[in-house]
């Protein structure tokens, strides 16, 4: 068994399982939130497998139409509210204090309560499956009037609304904690323009959460009121007002769950290219512009309602290409002439992120054009597009982050060969699943349908998509096997096994309670450890 250079014996955990459930240390909190969110990811994945299995052939084989509606509602809701947002926040809670040289997270009790709100929200949301009328069946957006009492009388829908409110409040509170940590607890010398790239991506994500998520809380509270007492969305403009409130949250959330993984990918690319992140300042400005633009595009989800200024929202949606282009340019320029370590799963997933998100982003520009959007709206084309952004973007970025920071969090190394297998199975499975959906949607297959006529000619592509979904499940099993093997037969990682550049790698793996028992290295740039190495050379 190999031991990484500079490795020290692994410290013993200091608190039991019960203590971990109420720990205020940001590392225990971040890890707990991460595990919770990943468990919801696996649960939502099971729902996706059920749906894909149902769609593999025409006719109803596995679930009823009502059951299918519940499956896609809980799949989408769980992925957004209980997996993607909390896991992005978990990464911030764990890593931001370490990256900025802080000993703690600001307002740790609030963060702890937020973790429990995510757990409670998730359980309440899923509790709908135990009720007589079943879980919520209104989609993750719960459009009015489809979600009002006459159209969705299930108590599961009320549980779902309560769950969404809890998850949204948790996200707002966690964002406030992370922002306060960055504002108040930076180490001496850590100015805003010396923050690591990942910390910057967390800043813009958290800004968007504190601005956009209150709209969701309001929309859901009013929806609950509407269902119980009425008189809220009953005016003729009610459904459109609801959509404004929902999409004012619903589009930014895509970026909230995307930016942190842009940061993770950037850190992975810089680390495994052995180079400083290229164009730091333009990158920071482009992030702020990106965040501002992405809060101004919500109307493109409403092109077909004829109730928004389509030209404006088309302009802002298309303009997203500019900051995205800056970020792609920076990533490519960082790798240019670098010592690229292509054998590392973290970098493979980062490169996969760049390629797959490019497909999702480009098709986003496509549907940002109203005439084209009219043709494909509510079709499988949209399903393909957003899965390329969310799975190709966020999930690939998430795995890049996991392979990059696993040694820091656990003090052990994941197996590289299993990681490479995991990567290739994910890439093949993901493309098999979602690429055929572009053609299905273009040819008119609507989304959110449990069945399609045999004469439609859609079955072959649906079979391919379903096979791809099972391949993704296999790739996740390989990942879980890698985690199990690595935790059982531990290979100590040492403080900085990758030769990374930011402050979290200046302390032991895993870090002690106080994070930095020894004096911090001087902070003169956003890559202080690289500065030290360059000075020594």
């Amino acid at each position: 068994m190999s031991v990484a250079a500079g490795a020290r014996p692994l410290p013993r955990p200091r608190r039991g399982v019960l203590g971990t459930l109420a720990a205020t240390d940001h590392k225990a909190l971040g890890a707990g939130l991460f595990v919770t969110a990943f468990a919801f990811f696996l649960a939502a994945g099971v729902l996706a497998l059920l749906m894909r299995s149902e769609l593999a052939q025409p006719g109803m084989q596995i679930v009823s139409t009502q059951g299918y509606d519940e499956l896609f509602t809980l799949h989408g809701s769980t992925m957004f509210y209980l997996f993607a947002t909390p896991i992005a926040m978990a990464a911030g809670v764990y890593l931001v204090p370490l990256q900025i040289g802080a000993a703690r997270l600001a307002a740790p009790r609030l963060a702890l309560a937020s973790w429990w709100m995510v757990i409670a929200g998730g359980l309440i949301m899923w509790m709908g499956f135990l009720t007589e009328q079943g879980a919520a069946d209104v989609g993750w957006y719960a459009y009015v009037p489809l979600s009002d009492m006459p159209n969705s009388p299930s108590v599961g829908t009320d549980y779902w609304i309560v769950g969404v409110i809890l998850a949204a409040l948790a996200a707002i509170a966690l964002s406030a904690c992370i922002l306060a940590t960055i504002v108040k607890l930076r180490a001496p010398g850590m100015t805003m323009l010396r923050l690591p790239v990942f910390a910057w991506t967390m800043i813009v994500s958290c800004l968007m959460v504190v601005t956009a998520f209150p709209a969701l809380v309001v929309a859901m509270a009013l929806l609950l009121w509407q269902r119980q007492l009425g008189h809220v969305y009953t005016l003729p403009s009610g459904p459109i007002d609801y959509q404004h409130l929902f999409w004012f949250f619903g589009h930014p959330v895509v970026y909230v769950v995307f930016f942190p993984f842009v940061g993770a990918v950037a850190e992975a690319i810089a680390t495994f290219s052995g180079r400083r992140w290229f164009g730091y300042r333009p990158f920071v400005l482009s992030l702020l512009a990106f965040a501002a633009l992405s809060m101004s595009v919500w109307g493109h989800h409403m092109f077909t309602t004829d109730s928004v200024e389509n030209r404006y929202f088309s302009l802002t949606s298309t303009a997203l290409l500019v900051p995205a282009g800056v970020e792609y340019f920076d990533a490519l320029a960082t790798m240019c002439r670098g010592r690229i370590r292509l054998d590392q799963p973290a970098l493979l997933f980062a490169l996969g992120f760049l390629v797959l998100f490019a497909i999702g982003g480009t098709t986003g520009i496509f549907v940002g054009s109203p005439p084209l959007d009219y043709h494909v709206t509510d079709s499988y084309f949209i399903v393909a597009h957003f899965h390329y952004t969310l799975f190709g973007g966020s999930v690939m970025g998430l795995f890049s982050a996991i392979y990059l920071w696993w040694p820091k969090v656990t003090g052990t190394l994941l197996r590289r060969s299993l990681g490479v297998w995991h990567f290739w199975l994910t890439v093949v499975g993901m493309n098999l699943t979602f690429f055929p959906m572009f053609f299905l949607g273009w040819n008119g297959m609507p989304r959110r349908v449990a069945d399609y006529p045999p004469s439609s000619g859609w079955q072959p592509l649906n079979v391919v998509a379903s096979a791809g979904a099972w391949l993704i499940a296999l790739s996740l099993l390989v990942f879980l096997a890698n985690v199990a093997v690595s935790l059982r037969r531990r290979v100590p990682a040492g403080p900085n096994p990758w030769g990374a550049q930011t402050l979290e790698w200046a302390t032991s793996s895993p870090p002690p309670r106080e994070n930095f028992p020894d004096p911090l290295p001087p902070v003169r740039s956003y890559a202080p450890l690289l500065d030290l190495r360059e000075e020594a050379a």
């Binding site: 608190r15 309560a113 549980y159 409110i165 409040l169 805003m192 813009v204 004012f248």
Partner: protein, 146 residues
């Protein structure tokens, strides 16, 4: 980019981007969308709050306090508060009795949090050293001296 050293300015830059987008909507397309207008206003307010919160002596004092502040290793009252909130919301659907249960748990949580905060304040105020004598230890010390 020099002034972007301060966190408040970062939010102001973001507010400026949002303001430009809201202006384009109004000036070019002739629309006033209340959400577009609210966003830059909110961002400016947030920047102001951050700037105020971080100003001068107050900022340094707050920072010292935060750095010195010892967090408890575990905080069950915080967990209880979250559970109370969840039960209160669920009570809106399930029944009033659950809201009362949540209220009770909320009070317990509040009491626990107040105890934790007071213990923290004491820990920050008292210099590190042996624990202050209690009435019992003081009596024992007096008897010993006699």
């Amino acid at each position: 980019m020099g002034p972007m050293r301060r966190p408040g300015v970062v939010v102001l830059v973001w507010a400026a981007f949002l303001g430009v987008l809201a202006t384009v909507l109004w000036a070019v397309f002739g629309e006033v969308d209340y959400l577009s207008v609210l966003m830059p206003a909110f961002a400016v307010a947030l920047a102001g709050l951050i700037a105020l919160g971080g100003a001068g002596q107050a900022r340094r004092a707050a920072r010292r306090a935060l750095e010195a502040q010892p967090d408890p290793d575990v905080s069950w009252p915080a967990v209880l508060a979250a559970i109370a909130l969840a039960l209160a919301l669920l009570g809106l659907e399930v029944g009033t009795f659950l809201i009362f249960v949540a209220g009770g748990l909320g009070l317990l949580a509040l009491g626990g949090l107040v105890r934790e905060w007071r213990a923290e304040r004491r820990a920050v105020a008292e210099p590190p050293g042996p624990p202050a004598p209690t009435a019992a230890t003081a009596r024992r010390a007096e008897r010993g001296a006699r």
